[in-house]
Symmetry: C2
Subunit: 250 residues, 2 copies
């Protein structure tokens, strides 16, 4: 039976109820470490566990709009601050038993944010905060959120290779070294500063010079660095490839 026939002949409300939620894997970089926005649940199920921010999609809103709204609510941000956050759909999760209450399909989203202030507790008085992804209480994440986080992290690592989205973790102006720091943090290992510099400047549309310099050198010395802003490319050609790892799943 397909959807058309079903709808033509049956009352939709008679069908077993299914709900749609959006969840957000929101990443940012704080103090050189990758952080994830999590909410501590104040109510069952999984009371006291950390969970991804999210909630039901409103009847009149698109999936991505819903995700952005949830992100705004949980971070307490709005306007310009939120507009600089990159948001994209990640994947949907719909195992029949993933939520003990009822059938819930979650459309997960992935967000890259510049360093944001600590979130404020929402109306349910749930605790919320940015937690470093190393040291995640992985066994204690609610529902299947550990899996969603894993998928989001892998997607983030991959996106940095072929898109300029690393700039979304930074402010409007940044140095090449700061950009390198994003890659090193997300990928989890150091990069060759000279080669990275050469590569970034050689990819058309990745960054463009503002003409300015930092006010000071680095905290421990070094010259003032040139400032750049994000270019207009949507894709990096050629891509920045992650150093080859011994992954080869066999």
């Amino acid at each position: 039976m397909n959807e058309q026939d079903f709808l033509a002949g049956y009352d939709p409300s008679a069908y077993p109820s299914t709900a749609i939620t959006v969840d957000v894997v929101a990443l940012t970089i704080r103090e050189g470490a990758l952080h994830l926005l999590l909410i501590r649940r104040g109510q069952p199920p999984y009371q006291g566990h950390w969970a991804l921010p999210g909630g039901f999609v409103q009847p009149d809103e698109d999936l991505t709009t819903g995700a952005r709204r949830e992100l705004a609510e949980e971070t307490g941000l709005g306007g310009d601050r939120l507009r600089r956050v990159h948001l994209e759909q990640l994947a949907s999760y719909g195992a029949p038993d993933r939520d003990p209450r009822m059938r819930i399909v979650s459309v997960a989203h992935l967000a890259f944010a510049p360093d944001l202030p600590d979130p404020v507790a929402d109306s349910d008085a749930d605790e919320a905060g940015w937690l470093p992804v190393t040291a995640l209480p992985s066994r204690q994440l609610a529902f299947d959120h550990a899996r969603i986080v894993d998928d989001g992290l892998e997607r983030a690592r991959s996106k940095l290779e072929y898109t300029p989205l690393a700039t979304r973790f930074l402010g409007p102006e940044f140095t090449i070294a700061e950009l390198r720091g994003v890659y090193e943090t997300v990928w989890g290992h150091p990069l060759h500063a000279g080669n990275f510099h050469r590569k970034v400047l050689s990819v058309p549309g990745f960054v463009e010079s503002t003409g300015g310099n930092t006010e000071r050198g680095g905290a421990r010395g070094g010259p003032r660095a040139r400032l750049y802003r994000a270019g207009d490319a949507r894709l990096l050609h050629p891509a920045l490839l992650r150093p080859a790892r011994e992954e080869t799943v066999r």
Copy 2:
């Protein structure tokens, strides 16, 4: 309130209910052209228009399971034939007005199939068939399916770069030239035969030799080709890159 009490008193119908469907962008290669599985709708809305195969997710099945079931129903296939089809989640589509009847979120999937027999009309007597993707009646696809197909095609082109999934369009044994044909068909332009050959054999785990040869040379001459089967790599390192096109801003 503990979790048991909470679940006992939980009323699912208190939350906005939305229907969930799975749709499948199923691709195959016939006579050197990329084909897409479509169903002609027998009832309104969009009566007479072509639509992606799909339907409601059953209460007890996972999203991907539902997609595989729909694909089996629409192609009339099962067992081994279907097991060789690659199926993955593509994206979810949930604009509030994408279906005129009610709020329906569709979790779209992407399938790569070897050449399959023509589908049989299902119980509703809707027409079904493999249509070449060039010459698609793009304005006549139902709902937002044209958009879903576009996304699926782009994903397919991209997947061929960094995964060995091109082999899923072929039988268990194939020649390098047949594999090159898959790439040329999906990417839409010819590749350098010598370079492709060198590259495929140099990527670890992409293909492995069966030791055999084709029975005959090509239809218009040429030597017998060596036969290969898919290797055990899940990812291609280094990837086969598409020839650089002019910056594609979607």
